[in-house]
Symmetry: C2
Subunit: 105 residues, 2 copies
Amino acid sequence: MTTEKIDGVSVNTQANVYFDGKCVSHGLTLADGTKLSVGVILPATLTFNTGAPEIMECVGGSCEYKLDGSSEWVKSSAGEEFSIPGNSKFEIRVTEPYHYICHFG
Amino acid sequence: MTTEKIDGVSVNTQANVYFDGKCVSHGLTLADGTKLSVGVILPATLTFNTGAPEIMECVGGSCEYKLDGSSEWVKSSAGEEFSIPGNSKFEIRVTEPYHYICHFG
């Protein structure tokens, strides 16, 4: 089951552009103050660092990811999610646009 | 005066990716059903076609645009907007990420 819409949010109009545009997201705030973002990663292999723990929910396309300390690439497709600990990092390998919701905390 | 946030919207979680990612946007729906989008154009010169008339509101960075039938490039910066007729087209030339809200109708 894929999350197609998120209702009742406040959206930051300015995008976050990472890695020369290989990753573009828009920040959202829910009515209760919870922050998250919606974004897309274009074909590339990238390394992201986390501050807070993150949950990456795939809403379109797919990726493969490798958590810090792991040697295993794991696939994540629409309707699936994976968790990254705080103060860590992960690699992500994308061959078709990977659309996601990033939940923090 | 730049629009930094839009409140009370429903956001489409899947991004619209145009021109191999040179333009990425997310569709929004206001409580009254009005549709718009927030997006970013990365450095490039692109041609967009319109169906409905559009208003491009710049919320960060800048662009130069040229409407169909015009030979003049016009600059548009944060806090400014320009209108494109329906069933028309425009060229846009971007040298720093151009963040925008696209209003329809």
